[in-house]
């Protein structure tokens, strides 16, 4: 197995040829500055998969190979040819072994990458002295009926949505717009998360229409209250951004926008709604209220001994 850097053109060709559905594989993400696209190749030179990383600065003077910005994970995708379960497990292990060695060869001082939830075998990373830590997201199974999904909400979230509906809040699936962008950027600002505004703008405005669900709630006087932006493909919808107006507030506006995104995803016959990571206590509590299942995914980290001890001071759970 061989891994090497490839161009977005090669990636698009591979994805199209193999009919792979992945909403992150499009220009609004693939042209992010610093993104690196890695192709996975079999011994015979045939491409079998891909994943993405980004080279970022840490502590101002260190470079890290990390999960690309605005993506929940590195999107590792691999087309297995094995049918026998034992052989399939062996094949996946070889992929992880190759990825773990390859990341080390990239030469960045820190490695910190999250993987999609369908990848569970991280033993090659553990054996290669990486730290593998568990992260969580919530996912809704949209094969359940709307009634059942509504019943599964927490009492508080149900109350939010019912109140918003009773008070005639208007919910619309809209084209992305400046108000929406401003609400999304406001959320990052309030949470003290540094983002590059132009990247968020690009994702909001340039993501293909078939790959997004953009929803806004308005009060009865048509003042915008809250918004939701999800990325969607045939496999699942992923909540990406959200926000609310600081001028016009309603406690149920955000929950109603999220609930509408869930319903729209279901109407599109997509089976999974992913809340995209829920590791911050307040966010986790909010998202938990939507009644999804807790789904683990894994993050690998590695650095030199001294850098790890240094980073441990701030990020004990990771280093």
């Amino acid at each position: 197995m061989k891994i090497k850097l490839i161009h977005s053109g090669e990636l698009y060709q591979f994805v199209e040829k193999n009919k792979i559905e992945n909403a992150f594989v499009q220009d609004s993400f693939m042209t992010q500055p610093g993104i690196q696209i890695h192709g996975i190749f079999a011994k015979d030179g045939q491409q079998k998969g891909f994943f993405f990383t980004e080279s970022v600065a840490r502590l101002k003077f260190l470079r890290a190979t990390a999960t690309p910005r605005n993506m929940p994970n590195c999107q590792l995708t691999y087309l297995s040819s094995a049918k026998n379960p034992a052989k399939k497990n062996t094949e996946y292990k070889s992929v992880m072994e190759a990825v773990s060695k390859y990341l080390g060869e990239l030469g960045e001082i820190i490695i910190s990458i999250s993987f999609p939830e369908n990848w569970i075998d991280f033993q090659p990373f553990i054996w290669n002295k990486h730290k593998v830590t568990t992260q969580f997201t919530y996912q809704l199974d949209l094969r359940k009926s709307t009634e059942e999904l509504f019943q599964n909400l927490s009492a508080e979230r149900r109350k939010n949505i019912t109140k918003a509906t009773n008070e005639n809040l208007i919910i619309k699936e809209t084209e992305p717009n400046k108000e929406m962008l401003s609400m999304i950027l406001g959320t990052f600002e309030r949470q003290n998360i540094e983002v590059e505004n132009s990247l968020i703008e690009k994702i909001v405005f340039e993501t293909k229409k078939e790959n997004r669900i953009a929803t806004m709630t308005f009060d009865s006087e048509n003042n915008p209250l809250a918004c939701n932006f999800c990325l969607v493909d045939s496999r699942k919808a992923t909540y990406l951004f959200g926000g609310y107006s600081t001028h016009n507030k309603h406690e149920g506006a955000g929950a109603l926008a999220m609930w509408d995104s869930i319903e729209t995803t279901k109407e599109r016959k997509v089976e999974v709604f992913d809340f995209e990571g829920s590791m911050v206590p307040q966010i986790e509590k909010y998202v938990r209220g939507f009644g999804g299942e807790l789904v683990p995914f894994f993050r690998v980290t590695k650095s030199s001994y001294l850098v790890e001890v240094l980073l441990k001071i701030k990020e004990r759970t990771r280093f």
């Binding site: 379960p85 730290k131 927490s154 938990r288 939507f290 683990p296 001994y305 441990k312 004990r316």
Partner: protein, 318 residues
């Protein structure tokens, strides 16, 4: 929610289904095992777990699962049916455990494993524990023997066939001295430390027909390999195994394991668990039986300086 020390009788009243929570198993460790109950706001016991304490480098205390036990035996009754409420309940419970460990074992090295059934470990993460997956392989015994055989790695399947062709026999074994001797030999060969006292207690005091079985593989009356499994109504665990290096046959081990799987299936036990597969050589052997890789969580923490020192040797854990 509150955590308090409890007695063996309290655990019995909870009736946890796992063999690792059974009275006979817990007795193996005597006073070395600290038993804890999880109590709700009404002071009713709703769950339990145990902690094994040992000394490290004479001055440090480590808490972990006991030897030959894969996890801390966490068991709890869940009452909520609404998923959002159930998650909230689980979070309260794990928060109580993490705060309890933090307060009671503040200066200890914590390396505790939980059963695969505990998915939600966020409370530990929020309490600055490193939550790291470990793995085991599990076979679903509801599948027919033909399917189970077809799912094996062809090499292992052929080794079993070759063993049968070469006249190796496999039969139930009741001689625990034989198990001890072969298992000990194998562990010493692999450089794994053996807790002789616990091993003997498991084999000579715990083991009986209702909780365990063993198979021996022979060729011309020479012992080649042994297996020893323990079980409950839900799972059969491949706890111990070994082979006689002097009289080896590459198919002896796989034949013994396959017979153990077959026996567990006949007992209508739904799952065969290889009980941890973190050593590369052992993992590849277990993987070849075609089971599903099942992650389970471990939580790891120590005082900062101790963690930094442990990192020198166990970078993947601290």
């Amino acid at each position: 929610m509150k955590i308090q020390p409890i007695s063996l009788a309290d655990i019995g009243r909870l009736s946890p289904p796992s063999v690792f929570n059974s009275e006979d198993w817990i007795k193996v460790y005597g006073d070395d095992l600290n038993l804890y109950g999880i109590f709700n706001a009404n002071q009713e016991i709703i769950g339990c777990f145990f902690i094994y304490k040992r000394k490290r480098a004479n001055v440090l205390t480590q808490i972990s699962p006991p030897p030959f036990t894969p996890h801390c035996g966490l068991y709890f009754k869940s009452f909520a049916t609404n998923p959002a409420k159930r998650h909230g309940e689980n979070k309260k419970l794990t928060k109580a455990i993490s705060e309890f460990i933090d307060s009671q074992y503040k200066r200890a090295i914590v390396t505790l494993a939980f059963p695969p059934s505990l998915l939600d470990t966020q409370s530990f993460y929020w309490q600055n524990y490193k939550v790291i997956p470990n793995y085991t392989y599990q076979l679903n015994l509801a599948q027919s023997l033909e399917v189970l055989t077809a799912q094996m790695d062809p090499k292992t399947r052929n080794l079993i066939k070759k063993a049968e062709k070469d006249g190796l026999t496999v039969e139930k074994n009741t001689d625990m001295n034989l198990v001890k001797s072969i298992v000990r030999q194998t562990m010493v060969r692999k450089g794994v430390k053996v807790n002789e006292k616990v091993l003997s207690t498991i084999l000579f005091q715990f083991a009986n027909d209702s909780n365990s079985f063993s198979f021996v593989v022979r060729q011309n009356k020479e012992v080649l390999a042994v297996t020893f499994c323990i079980y409950d109504n839900q799972k059969c665990y491949y706890l111990l195994g070994g082979y006689n290096k002097g009289n080896s046959h590459a198919g002896a081990g796989p034949l013994g394991v396959f017979e153990s799987i077959r026996f567990a299936q006949k007992q209508e036990i739904p799952v065969f668990d290889f009980e941890g597969s973190m050593l590369p050589n052992v993992e590849s052997y277990f993987r070849s039986f075609g089971g599903d890789l099942i992650p389970y969580s471990t939580i790891n923490k120590a005082p900062f300086v101790v963690e930094s020192l442990l990192k020198l040797k166990m970078k993947q854990q601290f």
